[in-house]
Symmetry: none
DNA sequence: CCAGAGAATGAATCCTTTG
DNA sequence: GCAAAGGATTCATTCTCTG
């Protein structure tokens, strides 16, 4: 396995590695503010054996201890708040977290996230196309799980690859409900006995969508409940760096083997649609400076109203003057206006959007 | 408005009434253990900041009402725990509750439910077929809301009409994700100015599924945040008793008028499926033979397209003819279609699914 | 009357850079 | 840190208007 260790302050950040131990202790040993994204699939309420600590750090045995429902929630909350605190410390200021769960635990997790200062961006429903039916007919088929996507704090500039997800969704905006099959067939890892290696292995398609949507190539993705390494496998495939933490030897072993078999996609395949926001800014005045538009030339809006271009790149219409955006907004009596897509100029009797000229300048900037 | 008052211990239980006032105080004035089902649509605590405009510069009419404003999560939690406590006191031992919310509040609600001793049965996702998009492209389309269904306590014998929901779902187990359109068009109530009467009116289809699935005719259904009375309207239609609590005079007025126009279905139509195997097959033509539908009468599909009923029980639309299933499939350009749940007919200006008539025939066959 | 175009609208935690 | 300016961004459905 490729291991890169990055110095961050006093501590070191081991990337593309599976770390052994209790996730809270291991997270606290890593450098603060070093992680771009955390994906966490924490244990549910009654699968906590060996995961729980009382406030005095003694271990709780969820099976042997006779606890009532309230104690159970109380201890689960302590556990949740503890690992979320360690996770939040690790995140870069613009980092984000995804946590997946079901109705047994997701409400505890969501409340703890909000109380810890995370800022929820969306809750996302993984709608299973092939869930296990409710055999006894006493409830609805439990056909989904819930993921919470949150930034480290309110106002943070989280990563969101809007265009890439839109592309994944046949050209329309990605919604908060994702229909994906459960992990089965060849993708489902088996142990030496042919039994499933992990009880809750997530499908790679789910992680694919999460990582394409909320990370960039080269980002560092941490999974504190690594299991059989689905997060790492998809991260590696997508050219992201992963850090896995897993306490169970058996899972680490399966994950290590799995990760050794993953070959990253080449960089061309990783390219996604570029957002217009990511493109360099062009001042309208440059069009005049470069002679693409002449001072004195008239621009026309969709209503057929005209405005004259001045040498400094400002516009003058019958009643308004200012930038292409300001004059457009004034004529539309609107709070704002994108002048680039609003105005047209005339060439050989044809009306042409001025945005064409901006694209021309941008393409020259690349040369 | 029909008012029935039922003596329960020392206090009286006013049914099929809209009660005025703060929901906690009013709930505490009602007799303990008297309610079968509570449906609650509490404030979501949206915490919206500035204005939002669509790309066409039109302004989004946001939920900025005073009743949705809370100063902090702590205050919101206090409110939530207080009304849930009052609600739980009102429930019969085998009673249940539904609460609907979004990611802003649903995690607080779920945690409070669990802490109060409720036992979560399912979380149900309402997947909106036509949500408002994310206009700035900064997040996923918020395309769903979450409902939590919980019994009063663990081990309670809650009502669940498994077969009825299965029938509503074309013969397969009802899942925890429900695809339904938002409330719009004629169903959306308007005030005297032609504006929406309530900012967050829920669709009747949602309540229909909730009440068919988790109540029986004659049950008492309480909605502590009654608004314009969707819960009451569907409860009355389905032969359940309702109690609404609403603070705002304007909403109570709209709700009262609405409820006055609802005419309950007759008892035969309310008989829900007992067991699928026990159900005799009913040919659509029997509805015509028995005069439940007249030859020449028009059926309407969800798109508003019409088809005419013929004497032999076949349908004719503008372009297609055949069975209710065939014409439905052709109009949907789908391989198959359950005509029973697809077509509706008109009575007294209301659209009613033809499946109601099938159930009526079946109930007569049992006699 | 119908068909087609255009406008309206919905529980929304909805921007980024420069000066 | 704040104010000002640049400029990027939407889907399904229903209602209304026009021809």
């Amino acid at each position: 396995m490729a291991v890169t260790t990055v110095a961050q302050g006093a501590k070191m950040l081991p990337t593309n590695e599976i770390l052994s131990g209790d996730c809270i202790e291991v997270m606290n040993s890593l450098p603060e503010g070093s992680i771009d994204l955390i994906f966490a699939d924490p244990p549910y309420n009654l699968q906590l054996k060996g995961e729980l600590h009382r406030p005095d750090n003694s271990r709780v045995d969820a099976v042997d201890d006779a606890w009532d429902q309230f104690d159970s929630f109380k201890i689960y909350d302590q556990f949740t708040r503890a690992w979320l605190k360690a996770a939040r410390r690790l995140l870069k200021p613009n980092g984000a977290i995804w946590v997946i769960g079901s109705y047994h635990n997701i409400f505890r997790v969501g409340t703890a996230l909000q109380d810890a200062g995370f800022w929820i961006l969306n809750d996302v429903v993984w709608r299973k196309s092939n869930p296990m039916p409710n055999f006894r007919g006493k409830r609805l088929t439990n056909a989904h799980e819930t993921m919470i996507w949150a930034s480290k704090s309110e106002g943070a500039k989280y990563t969101f690859n809007y265009e890439a997800l839109k592309e994944l969704n046949e050209g329309v905006q990605m919604r908060s409900d994702w229909v994906l099959p459960i992990c089965s067939g060849h993708e489902r890892l088996k142990d030496d006995n042919g039994d499933k290696a992990h009880p809750t292995q997530k499908p790679e398609s789910l992680l694919h969508r999460v990582l394409v949507g909320s990370t960039n190539p080269g980002d560092i993705v941490l999974d504190p409940f690594f299991g059989t390494g689905t997060t790492g496998a998809v991260a590696k495939l997508l050219g992201r760096n992963y850090i896995g933490i897993e306490r169970e030897e058996a899972y680490r072993k399966v994950a290590a083997k799995r990760l050794g078999q993953v070959r990253p996609l080449d960089s061309a395949a990783l390219q996604t649609t570029v957002s217009k926001r990511a493109q360099p800014r062009v001042a309208f005045g440059q069009l005049v400076e470069r002679g693409l538009l002449r001072p004195g030339e008239m621009l026309v809006n969709p209503r057929g109203q005209a405005a004259k271009v001045r040498v400094d790149g400002s516009l003058v219409s019958a009643e308004h003057r200012g930038s292409i955006h300001q004059v457009g907004a004034a004529l539309e009596n609107a709070p704002s206006c994108n002048g680039w897509t609003y105005w047209q100029f005339k060439r050989d009797g044809q009306l042409i959007p001025i945005d064409i000229l901006r694209q021309q300048i941008r393409s020259e900037m690349h040369d």
